[in-house]
Amino acid sequence: MRAIVVALMLVFCVQAAQAIDAGPAFEDPALQARYERLGRELRCLQCRSETIFDSNASLAVDLRRQLRELIAEGKSDDEIMQYMTDRYSDYVRYKPPLAPRTVLLWAAPILLVLGGVGVAITVILRKSRLPEDDPVDPGLGAS
């Protein structure tokens, strides 16, 4: 039975028509830019791989309307994200908030780069003390 439901949910998602509004939601370009940015940070729960800004799923349409209302009410970005996560959990955020469980994720780029550079420096220090050529296999560089 679950399979049926999943199949049905997918039916709503295969439509490859993106959501296009009839006009800008806000006269003020700054508000419009915020609307687009936030809309692109929110994941549509009906069409799981689309943002609510891009998706044509009915839930995405409704959440876009909700987002417009919240911006028009003058809510801050944090308040809007809180509103969404209160209802749909962190799953709705494409940019996971920093929390104990996501520390590793957000630290990863820096850790990986620093770790890589550390390894590289260790290798270079060791190698710089060795003779330039290995008599057994000098490489084919000269040829």
Binding site: M1, I4, A22, D62, R65, R87
Partner: protein, 195 residues
């Protein structure tokens, strides 16, 4: 030379995760509302939009909110099971009828009642023809309450306790097995399950 063993170790851990992840359900999302107060709502009755029912009217008792719509195929699958569950009369059942997306005009303003009425008729006809499992049905034209409840695909079923706290959520078509497994034990302490 532990560093030469590192790749195979990392790989082993990855494979173990994939193995564990293979059979897991990717569709159902946990509700952040469990253990939190249910959102307050007041909505028109499906059969009589002049009357408004609100969550306050139901306070002080356990009840079930079933989110459904006549357009939703999963709801069709669920309906016979829901009739059986309702016949046990364990708790009051509220039908939260939703359209397929909020009924608004191009500017995003709510459509007037006369334009919404045909949509409500579809729901009423469904209940008339297939049977009505609900004690009362309300209509959420704008998906406002549905969004407050974190609904992302009908059908979804919520169990709310005496204090207005959400204590369980079932996503997708409910059946007798899920009802007996997940709902009844949470209902039982205050009410007998006999019936």
């Amino acid at each position: 030379m532990w560093r030469y063993l590192l790749p195979v170790g990392i790989f082993g851990v990855l494979i173990a995760f994939f193995f564990a992840g293979l059979g897991r359900d990717k569709q159902t999302l946990p509700s952040p509302l469990i253990g939190k107060p249910a959102p307050e709502w007041s909505l028109p009755r499906l059969d009589d939009p002049t009357q408004v029912i609100s969550s306050k009217d139901l306070a002080g008792q356990k009840y079930v909110v079933n989110v459904w719509g006549p357009w939703c195929v999963g709801c069709q699958v669920e309906h016979p099971e829901l009739m059986k569950i309702a016949s046990r009369k364990a708790v009051p059942m509220i039908g939260l009828t939703v359209p397929q997306g909020a009924l608004v005009d191009k500017q995003g303003e709510p459509l007037p009642l006369e334009d919404v009425w045909s949509e409500m008729q579809l729901g009423l006809r469904w209940l008339r023809e297939l049977g009505d499992p609900y004690d009362v049905s309300v209509f959420d034209q704008l998906w406002k309450t549905a969004i407050d409840l974190g609904v992302y695909g009908a059908p979804e079923t919520f169990l709310i306790d005496e204090h207005g706290t959400v204590i369980h959520k079932h996503t997708g078509p409910i059946d007798m097995a899920a009802w007996e497994r997940d709902f009844l034990p949470k209902i039982a302490p205050s009410r007998s399950t006999g019936g």
